[in-house]
């Protein structure tokens, strides 16, 4: 496993990093930034897919919350209904994770390459020689210079560590959905602070070359995130920022949001979350203008859509 990892992922990234350094004026800082941009560029389709999936999942949250409250005592039914909801909206929960899982080995390889190429300790430099291709440029470049601007990339740097934390927090904040569910809010809050704090702490321990990579990567993520989903959780409402491109989810979710709550035919107590208005992508508004073809919706759902929307907290009359 280790040998396969080295051959297929780690060595290509490492040798590319060193070779790229020879092109970029032997400036390792510039090389880290450039290679991070290149790799993130190559993974752009996966990243955007992940971002859109995540955003689409978030926009389903009101409906999911509704279902959870409604079927709190019937887990089996809840699962069935949720599955149905995902199916109708065309969202796969795995769609958020899969692209990230695919990208993770590349991130780790890049991280390892930066650490190894910096060769802080003699053992590191000695170890590095075992992973080099026979390209002459790779051998003549080593050991790489660790000076970049005022930084020594081989040593921790407080400023970069803080920058890692800040950029990571901004990125996390952008992807954190507004939610009324206390459990989710607690989890989101933990994630929002835990990752930036952890990575800031790590940055203070590791060579700042790694922090430079994290900062670059975070900034790229923020930019991508902005273009795909807008400022997200950074601003209170993103209704004005159209997602634009993920039509696949947009259309389906809009149709689902249009339909009234399903408590009408069951008679359960449902508190409709107030945050559903204006939250997420603003699909509800555009959905009003969309022609209803009814295509692809099960008969049951079409019937539900015709029912009048009931006011908050209303208990329907049982028959």
């Amino acid at each position: 496993m280790g040998a396969a990892w080295d051959t297929i992922i780690f060595q290509p990234v490492l040798n590319s990093l060193i070779a790229l350094c020879s092109i970029l004026f032997s400036n390792f800082g510039l090389t880290i930034i450039a290679l991070t941009i290149i790799i993130r560029g190559c993974m752009y389709p996966l990243t955007t897919r992940q971002l859109r999936s995540t955003k689409a999942m978030q926009s389903l949250q009101p409906k999911l919350t509704e279902l959870r409250q409604k079927y709190a005592k019937d887990k089996q039914r809840l699962a069935k209904e949720q599955m149905q909801l995902y199916k109708e909206s065309g969202i796969s929960p795995a769609g958020c994770l899969l692209p990230m899982l695919i990208q993770m080995p590349i991130w780790i390889a890049l991280y390892q390459s930066i650490m190894m190429a910096l060769a802080v300790a003699p053992e590191g430099l000695l170890n590095l020689s075992g992973y080099l291709y026979s390209w002459p440029v790779v051998h003549s470049m080593l050991p790489l210079g660790s000076k970049f601007l005022w930084l020594n990339l081989a040593e921790p740097n407080f400023f970069l560590a803080i920058l890692v934390g800040v950029t990571m927090w901004v990125q996390q904040k952008m992807v954190t959905p507004a939610t009324t569910d206390p459990k989710q809010r607690s989890m989101s809050g933990m994630m929002l602070w835990m990752m930036p704090l952890m990575f800031t702490f790590l940055s203070l321990q590791f060579p700042s070359g790694l922090a430079l990579y994290w900062v670059t990567s975070n900034v790229i993520s923020i930019v991508l995130q902005y273009f795909v989903t807008g400022w997200g959780g950074l601003v209170k409402s993103t209704a004005g920022k159209p997602a634009g491109r993920d039509k696949k989810y947009k259309q389906r979710i809009a149709q689902i949001e249009e339909r009234p709550s399903e408590y009408a035919d069951v008679g359960a107590d449902v508190v409709e979350p107030s945050s559903t208005q204006g939250e997420g992508l603003g699909y509800g508004k555009s959905g009003d203008e969309r022609q209803d073809r009814g295509g692809g919706y099960p008969t049951r759902l079409r019937e539900i859509r015709r029912q009048p929307r009931r006011s908050k907290g209303h208990r329907p009359k049982r028959r």
Binding site: Q82, L97, P122, G124, M191, F206
Partner: protein, 379 residues
């Protein structure tokens, strides 16, 4: 299954992934040589072998019975890596100590040079007394009443051997110096990562000459023999330059598979240069021509070999010790432990310091029979 736990489960998985990622990053950082450990070689004087231990102590070992004596631990104030700090906060020591009179000198990765009393192992002086230089990886050398050493700041220092007072410092190199200087006929020869070899006046520190830039960094300690300086480079070639003016005598025709790291040895006008590609290159000292096909040891060689009674004793990283006689290799012993430290030798005995378990082995250089082995740990 996904649906059952939906978003909360996703959040938990994300949390787990983050923890795994951070843990993985930390662990891989440890594994890949982030932390300096040290690989000090041994030097023998008056029946005692001196070397630095992984704990950061100078250790004196009796060559007759293996009894040990330790100095106080030298500790570092620099922070260790998250989650991978060594159990001991001892300073890593890479260079082989030098002995002169009643003092033993050793450099630390914390950027200090220490002088210990050879009998009591009490510290006599330390340079610099306050603060630290850049990490010192090469060993010190004593000659002309001075201690010479190079540092990662690209400087060469000369101190009074008895007091540690600085006599001169010279900044010939534009990059790190990790090699041990060689003193010959009033000249200090030292190599640098800036791809050059320098000759300095041993009395004043003034630069006499520098070589033209070669194709790669130079980590090997140079070998001076018969008015010629031999060294290998990261460009995977061996070089011979004139000791008088630094002009190139020859560059090896053969290109090694990986870097030259260990110091070469010379015997019978033949240069034996081990490489990290696991081969020993055998070249004519005058012309640089390859005399025989490189001797394959099957594992990288970073440990500098020694010459004992006409045999080249050499150790590979995987822990095998070989003898090369008449250009034929013979396995003396398989220690099965990682070897990076330069070998030491005295009276037909080879001393091998293995990095993994901080163990010192004494082997008969002819037969490979293990005479004794001891741990250098003080605990």
């Amino acid at each position: 299954m996904w649906v059952k736990h939906n978003k909360i489960l996703l959040s938990k998985i994300l949390l787990l992934l983050v923890i795994l990622l951070v843990g993985g990053l930390t662990i891989s950082g440890c594994i890949r040589g982030l932390q300096p450990i040290g690989w000090s070689g041994g030097v023998v004087a008056d029946g005692t072998l001196f070397l630095g231990s992984i704990e950061g102590r100078l250790v004196a070992v009796s060559t007759s019975d293996g009894t040990r004596q330790w100095s106080d631990q030298i500790t570092t104030t620099s922070s260790g890596g998250f989650g991978c700090a060594p159990s001991s906060a001892g300073v890593a020591m890479y260079g082989t100590p030098a002995v002169a009179g009643d003092l033993v000198y050793i450099g630390g990765y914390n950027g200090k040079i220490y002088a210990f009393d050879s009998s009591s192992l009490q510290k006599r002086w330390v340079y610099p007394p306050e603060g630290n230089l850049q990490p010192i990886v090469g060993g010190p050398v004593v000659a002309l009443g001075k201690v010479y050493f190079g540092g990662s700041d690209g400087k060469v220092y000369a101190l009074k051997a008895d007091t540690g007072v600085k006599v001169w410092e010279s900044s010939p190199a534009g990059d790190k110096i990790w090699s041990t200087p060689v003193i010959d006929d009033g000249t200090v020869y030292i190599s640098s990562f800036d791809k050059k070899l320098y000759a300095l006046d041993a009395t004043t520190g003034k630069k006499k000459w520098e070589t033209a830039e070669v194709g790669g960094a130079i980590a090997t300690t140079p070998l001076v023999y018969n008015n010629t300086v031999y060294f290998g480079s990261f460009d995977r070639y061996l070089y011979a330059v004139d000791a008088t003016d630094g002009s190139l005598k020859w560059k090896s025709e053969v290109e090694a598979g990986k870097w030259f790291w260990a110091k070469p040895v010379i015997y019978n006008n033949t240069v034996y240069a081990p490489s990290l590609d696991g081969k020993v290159y055998v070249l004519d000292a005058e012309s640089g021509h390859e005399l025989i096909d490189a001797i394959d040891l099957g594992s990288p060689v970073s440990s500098s070999p020694v010459l004992v009674d006409g045999s080249i004793i050499i150790a590979s990283e995987e822990g095998k010790v070989y003898s090369i006689e008449n250009n034929q290799k013979r396995e003396l012993k398989n220690l099965g432990e990682k070897i990076n430290a330069p070998l030491g030798a005295s009276n037909g005995v080879v001393y091998v310091h293995t990095q993994e378990d901080d163990t010192l082995y004494a082997l008969n250089a002819q037969t490979g029979v293990e005479l004794w082995d001891i741990s250098l740990s003080s605990k």
